[in-house]
Symmetry: C2
């Protein structure tokens, strides 16, 4: 409750991935009041997907105990390249049927709230900035390292969305100009090709095929060779696993350093499944960044794990919607006449 | 003259390099009214340098025909890592005696004007944004390719100065993680080590030492092997020179692409001595960027030469000073009480 007896506004965040939709209601400080997850069923297309999103929204608002009248705005983070102004996905590998579907305006009409579309990795970065590991900072970069590498950059409190929806696409920065590995996007030498969980497994298989001696071989044989397994074997001092983890750390350190020499944030965060590799992994990344970055960033830029885990996406989408309606309110001097959807 | 008979304000820009100081007065649209260049004499230290700057300022204001009362603010672009808030150089290879000397406040006291310090490559980028090749854009990156590689990024009309003065230090992005060439900064694999004019000459000498057949050999023998010479021999179809220029273009395209996947500007500009390599060189960079960048930036981001040449630094320093006093004026609602120096 506010001092005048009115409740603070709340925000709804949605995180639309190729497999699952996560929905959450957060308060004015970014604290989740309720959340839920439902399958996306991307194969059914965006019209049915719109129903799924709206149902998830209604169910999570009900679960939160907040009245819809208290929900000020809706943020929708989605995989892929986003046209935020038009409110649609330009291209997303995991949501191929959704391209150019006017999801922000359709969902906004449906929920009767200003609805903002943004990239899911950007949403996660804004979530960490607003309510997670970056609360005390002005600028941060978040690398979400899982099957692929998502990245988002917050600079002076604003998301760097870019002029073509490619702001913060740091998984696709080129870190190996000559003889680079092929990335999931088809280009060569990208960070993702060296540091994603999929790359880690692929590099392990290549090394085993080349005859490396390692406990990983038995896991490959029984079909249980995963990135988590490799990280665990590294912590048990398997030499191949250690080398692969160090190579991964090095590629991530190169990515971090390039962001430090481009945007120069206060903080670089690592999240996603690879964050489960633990504090030794983070320690190696830090040592490598200290050796590679220019002064004074090498000493001062903090390198940390993200804090919000899988909730970062919906929290950040909600937070970006909050910021967007507030900025618009500031411009107009009143809350009337939102035309964001 | 303004409609009310008052003249529009003018701005003084200073570009402090290790060898020369360039000073210029520009009008409210960034058009130079006068400029001059004097030797820096960096070896004499900052106290004498301060006199040199102040003398250059007074002489160029006199030459411009503008009265000092019409000069609203002063911008000082300087080589090296800058602490803009404290108004000093943290570290600059070419101005070693100037580190931590409070140049902005001392010069501001001397000239009795709000005085803003910024990095020289950032100043050049802001110059192109304000009054050069980037006039119609919101966001751009400028690579100034000479002995080293300077870079500056303007995003949504603001310089990305970074939290430790390393914003836009893209010459020191790592484009070759494994087996990278050594950069002037001592680290390995940086863009500057592959694409500066010095790197071009160094790579030519390496190829000649390894026995390459080329007209460049005679220029090496007579001591006239320069980057300009290599570019000219490439235009005359010397095979080694062509290969070296293509390698240079490739490294610059990798740098441009990484900026396009990080900040995602409207426009990437190339300036400095290497811009003299001509339109064929730019065409090759464009082709390589189109092949490397993700859609839709690969089709839409413009790749151009810079327009302002050696004037970009003082024009941009003046423009950044103009923006800084105006932003401060907007915040305070009046022009009284500047405390920028």
């Amino acid at each position: 409750m506010n001092p005048d007896g009115r409740r603070s506004p709340c925000y709804l965040g949605l995180d639309l991935g190729g497999t699952n939709i996560k929905a959450g209601v957060v308060d004015d400080q970014g604290v989740p009041l309720a959340s839920l997850s439902v399958p996306t069923r991307a194969d059914l297309g965006p019209e049915i997907g719109l129903e799924t999103l709206a149902n998830a929204a209604n169910r999570v608002v009900e679960a939160s105990g907040v009245d819809w009248s208290e929900i000020e705005a809706v943020g929708l983070g989605a995989a892929g390249t986003i046209d935020a102004a038009r409110g649609w996905i330009v291209q997303a590998a995991n949501l191929p049927l959704w391209n150019l579907f006017p999801i922000a305006s359709r969902l906004g009409d449906r929920l009767q709230r200003p609805t903002i579309l943004l990239n899911d990795a950007n949403a996660a970065a804004f979530g960490e900035y607003w309510a997670g590991a970056g609360r005390s900072t002005e600028s941060l970069a978040l690398f979400t390292v899982g099957t692929g590498i998502g990245c988002g950059i917050v600079e002076s409190g604003r998301l760097l969305e870019g002029r073509h929806g490619l702001g913060g696409e740091c998984g696709h920065m080129n870190i190996q100009m000559q003889g680079g590995r092929r990335c999931s996007c088809g280009k060569r030498g990208h960070l993702e090709a060296y540091a994603s969980a999929s790359s880690l497994v692929r590099r392990a298989i290549e090394a085993l095929d080349a005859g490396a001696d390692s406990t990983l071989r038995s896991f490959l044989a029984e079909g249980t060779l995963t990135a988590e397994r490799i990280a665990r074997c590294a912590s048990e001092r398997d030499r191949l696993a250690l080398r692969l983890m160090r190579e991964t750390a090095r590629a991530l350190a190169v990515g971090a350093t390039t962001v430090m020499h481009t945007v120069d944030p206060d903080l670089v965060l690592f999240g996603g499944g690879m964050a489960g590799a633990g504090s030794d992994f983070l320690r190696i990344i830090r040592i490598l960044v200290r050796a590679m970055a220019l002064p004074p960033a090498n000493a001062r830029t903090r390198i940390e794990f993200a804090k919000l885990g899988g909730d970062a996406g919906f929290i950040g989408a909600a937070g970006w919607a909050r910021k967007s309606v507030r900025d618009l309110g500031d411009q107009r001097g009143s809350r009337r006449g939102f035309e964001m959807v």
